[in-house]
Symmetry: C2
Amino acid sequence: MQDDAMHDDPLVGRRASSGTHIGFPMGSGAGVTLTDVARAAGVGESTASRVLRSHGSFSSKTRASVLEAAARLGYVPNRIAGTLASTGSKLVGIIVPSLANIVFPDLLRGANSVLGKAGFQSVIGVTDYDLVGEEALISSLLSWRPAGLLVAGLEHTPRADAMVRGGGIRIIEMLDTDGAGIDMVVGFSNRDAGRAAARHLIARGYRRIGYVGHDLALDLRAAKRFEGFRAALAEAGLQVAGQMIAPVPSSIAAGRGALDRILHETPDLDAVYFSNDDMAIGGYFLCLSRGIGIPDRLALFGHNGLEVARCAPQPLSTIRTPRVEVGEASARLISSDGPPSIVTLDFELIEGATT
Amino acid sequence: MQDDAMHDDPLVGRRASSGTHIGFPMGSGAGVTLTDVARAAGVGESTASRVLRSHGSFSSKTRASVLEAAARLGYVPNRIAGTLASTGSKLVGIIVPSLANIVFPDLLRGANSVLGKAGFQSVIGVTDYDLVGEEALISSLLSWRPAGLLVAGLEHTPRADAMVRGGGIRIIEMLDTDGAGIDMVVGFSNRDAGRAAARHLIARGYRRIGYVGHDLALDLRAAKRFEGFRAALAEAGLQVAGQMIAPVPSSIAAGRGALDRILHETPDLDAVYFSNDDMAIGGYFLCLSRGIGIPDRLALFGHNGLEVARCAPQPLSTIRTPRVEVGEASARLISSDGPPSIVTLDFELIEGATT
DNA sequence: ATGAAAGCGCTAACAC
DNA sequence: GTGTTAGCGCTTTCAT
């Protein structure tokens, strides 16, 4: 009956709006259907559809009138209907644990830029580092029948794992290659990053090396780095000379506080490995405040290669992770039809001035 | 014909998958329709639908069998179809200019947390500070028939403006109250923030005040702050004693470089107002490197109240903006049915140690 | 080159 | 309390 009401004047509809704006069809946009456009152009629905999607064949004359009608009516295609009628959607789900750490916006940025160019829309989900929350998000995202799913990390609940496997879509796990993936995996080995950090400190001559981290039960990748770190120390006959783990998400304040505490407990450390750059910058700020000489009295090593770490008066020694690149590469795989595979992108150790 | 094929055994279908995983229905998830569930439960489609949405009435016995069937078949509802059949969708579009500056992830975070709790999914769009790109994104997002649109900023192309007005949905413009909104507006006055910064510096006794900013043609809100800043200086009979605008997006490196240059050109500045905290932290790092005494030789003032600014050895004097809160408040308005309105959230001037 | 018609999977009256 | 029946707006054979 909506149709009936609109047959006479398809331009009248929906909005009570006073039509204040100019230069654009009145009562426009939503509400105008392909049927309206077809009728206004004097062609059939399917023809209008073909023209609007530049798919199939039609005369240039038909083309012109359809386009004109669409523009005049302010037609906005309904992708919900389009998706339902055709096969797959142009929605891609992206699941990250947090948005508070710039690492994940970086990942999103990389993914979104590539996806956007390919005509996909990103639907995001934030788990707050909770695997059960992730499961709920996956279920919810799957109900939008996305073309694929990008998710940070390899660890999932059994149900989440089963769901995505049953979804019949491409699933890309990001930022971690230490473990088994479901379908595609794009990232790097956090374990290796931890090892690289340890080897660097050892090579530089440090021996009383401590660790300052944040909640490892939540941040599984930080835990893997720490694991690799300890392994490399052990290979050199060393062990962690002290550790301090703040039971909170990583932050500059947490890093600052944790370094303060570990230096009380273990004053003779000569170097500290931080769970990431946020924590490390906090440590760096503490040293500046306290007048603790870097790197002579204490060396600092981080992880991620954030801008703030690179631009500090003494650039932080750290490992640059290819976050944006991981996002980009992952997004590209959405349209791939190849077999499951693993893409490893290299991290880069930055020898700053803090070691 | 799909239906026909599945009548006999609804569990067989779609996926060629070898069914490697265990503890979950085989050939599951996508592909199983409500019809399948209804049939398996021995009830009608609409009854199954009611049960699954806990809407309408049904016996607890029916409820049990439907739920059992859904679980057994691994049914994942198809929201695309659901949305098309019902009225509005549970998708909300969020448009931000960038993800490279933590300010926008903060905004997203606030919005997404509230949206998620209300059963909405966030579909994001990144404009790269390009209004034409924004227009394209709006058009694209609108085609998903979202329940509403959250967009940073008040400035849009005429077409974009017309489109959202014609969309018949709630539209919330965020982070700026200096100008006319389309529907709802949630934010604060950047002009006032600039004025507050200027007044603070003046009250502290600074007179040779410079400005270090980033590309103002793109960042319209930074431009408004600068405008308010100059106005307040003028009211005190002062004017900007020098300015340096890096023709790039804001960053720590840009702030550092720009301060370096302005100090060459105008060595006798006694204070600098930065377009935001990223730029200001860059300036702060330069001063640390050069041994420029803060605030005696040079005072620094930023904008945003980022964690890095608050945790620095000398906490940066800045203005804390309620980014997360703006996101939260905006998200809450999506479901509102009130008239267009403006919500102003206060910013807070932080008197740090750099002024 | 174009149109008619049959759905896509679900929700929402409306009967029973 | 439950089933039947229309669509939602579009894409897609299949004729013509």
